[in-house]
């Protein structure tokens, strides 16, 4: 039996609201299936499951807000012993250990049923398929029961605003609708919590290196020359790929610090996206090292609009192993980042700008970027950080090999 827990979707998350179960009891769950939607300070997140088994029991009802680590459901994997599972499948943050009595109480509380709703089997089936909350409906069937007709009415009412909105959107496609997401206050608090923790607990050290971007920029320009606009690359895709390769060489930075250094097998690079409404989200580009630059660009094209619409998946929010911030673009020359705990490093790219650059006794004007590394001194020392920057620079000078 697997205890499926409220995942930790980042150091700043303390609790989440279970908005909707996306699977039904008895359903077989495959690795990567989306089991639920959870509302966090960073929006509505689709929670994936990382085990296989049959959904045995819900322990938390839709609409309930529970702390990270709370067991949400039991998944029967055919084994009798109980294992714990967070969405990441990794020990990001252990939940507080409750005495057994406490847990029992939680389970009891959550499984207690309210008044039974009279609903026909067919109506229930249709309601479940269309995710209609039957507790809000008034039945018109025998003994006030909810029947098919009532559900169909509810569906049409739910769909109508969406349809209207779609129509509206079609009509005025050019005027984008602001995505619904968390309030900027909630977002602000989330960022505040994570960054305070970072600054409080992590002894940062900083390194900086100016890197010549002329080869990388030429390579991008060359690559884009024959491409339709839709397939064009941005320099940031090259930067992400170069960072991934450098991390592969310096694995101590692709790690977490939780009472010791834990290297991670996958290189999942978190990419800071600023939201126009304020705040940031940091979705991960999973397995950045094994993706080509083109694939990374595709991922960026997919992930940025979703991040802005608050439609990320749990794996994208919980599994990053290292972070890149690119805030310098269009503004600052350099950025010194704060590490996103429990990671141990963050690399910052300033604006790529033309600067005098000396090499082999010659001075020239070249596009350069100031790259910084902030790293956790508990986990690594400056030498490791320095090696990382050197490796990164080397990869940027050989873009064709990325």
């Amino acid at each position: 039996m697997i205890k499926f827990q409220m995942p930790n979707l980042g150091a700043d998350m303390e609790a989440g609201t279970l908005v909707e179960w996306r699977k039904q009891l008895g359903e077989f769950l495959h690795r990567g299936d989306i089991i639920a939607d959870v509302e966090t300070q960073k929006g509505l997140i689709e929670i994936e499951v990382f085990e296989e088994g049959t959904l045995e029991k819900f322990l938390v009802k839709e609409g309930e807000k529970v702390p990270v680590g709370t067991v949400l459901a039991l998944i029967n994997d055919g084994k009798s012993e109980v294992t714990e599972s967070t969405v990441s499948g990794e020990e990001i943050q252990k939940p507080e250990i409750h005495p057994i009595e406490d847990r029992k109480e939680i389970v009891h509380e959550n499984t207690e049923l309210g008044e039974r709703i009279k609903i026909s089997p067919l109506a229930r089936k249709i309601a479940e398929e269309n995710r209609i909350d039957i507790s809000l409906l008034k039945g018109t069937g025998p003994e006030g029961s909810i029947v098919k007709k009532d559900i169909e009415k509810a569906i049409s009412e739910v769909k109508k605003p969406i349809k209207d909105a779609e129509k509206e959107a079609d009509k005025t496609k050019e005027i984008s609708v602001k995505p619904s997401g968390p309030t900027s206050d909630a977002m602000r608090m989330a960022v505040a919590a994570a960054m305070s923790k970072s600054n409080r607990e992590i002894p940062h050290y900083y390194l900086e290196k100016r890197m010549d971007m002329s080869k990388a920029m030429d390579w991008v320009k060359e690559a884009n020359k024959d491409r339709p606009v839709q397939n064009r690359l941005l320099p940031v895709a090259v930067l992400i790929k170069a960072v991934a390769k450098a991390l592969d060489e310096v694995p101590d930075l692709n790690a977490t610090w939780e009472n010791g250094l834990h290297r991670k097998n996958e290189i999942n690079i978190g990419f800071v996206i600023s939201l126009r409404s304020g705040g940031i989200v940091v979705p991960a580009i999973l397995q950045s090292d094994s993706k080509t630059v083109d694939e990374i660009m595709e991922t960026i094209n997919d992930i940025i609009p979703r991040a802005r619409a608050f439609k990320l998946r749990s794996s994208e929010l919980s599994q990053s192993t290292f972070t890149i911030t690119n805030i310098g673009e269009g503004g600052a020359d350099k950025v010194f980042g704060l590490i996103y705990p429990p990671q141990v490093g963050i690399v910052g790219f300033g604006e790529i700008s033309e600067q005098p650059f000396a090499e082999e006794g010659m001075l020239g004007i070249r596009p350069v970027v100031d790259v910084t590394l902030a790293a956790d001194h508990r986990a690594t020392d400056g030498l490791i950080g320095s090696r990382f920057l050197a490796a990164l620079n080397r990869h940027l000078q050989n873009p064709e090999e990325l």
Binding site: E174, S176, K225, P228, R232, L234, V236, S274, R276, G330
Partner: protein, 82 residues
């Protein structure tokens, strides 16, 4: 397509990318990306949108000609006449 129509289209596309801004208040020689706080990803989305809407392909070396309203308008008007 008249210059006014192109301008309207540009505003619509910018509005879609930066919903909380008012592109119509852009000054002709103001840097669009700076004024509307558009990053490189959104800038590329803008170029893609122009391509889809007006069927004008802006090669990368011409990106510099799209930095303000005045030059962008002139560029697109010229391209559309070709």
């Amino acid at each position: 397509m008249t210059e006014e129509e192109i301008k309207t289209t540009i505003f619509q596309l910018l509005q879609r990318i930066a919903p909380e801004t008012d592109p119509s208040r852009l000054m002709p020689e103001e840097n669009i990306r700076e004024a509307l706080n558009i990053d490189s990803f959104d800038a590329l989305q803008f170029i893609v949108a122009i391509n889809e809407k007006l069927n004008v392909d802006i090669p990368e070396e011409d990106y510099g000609k799209t930095s303000n309203l005045k030059s962008l308008l002139a560029y697109l008007t010229k391209k559309l006449k070709e």
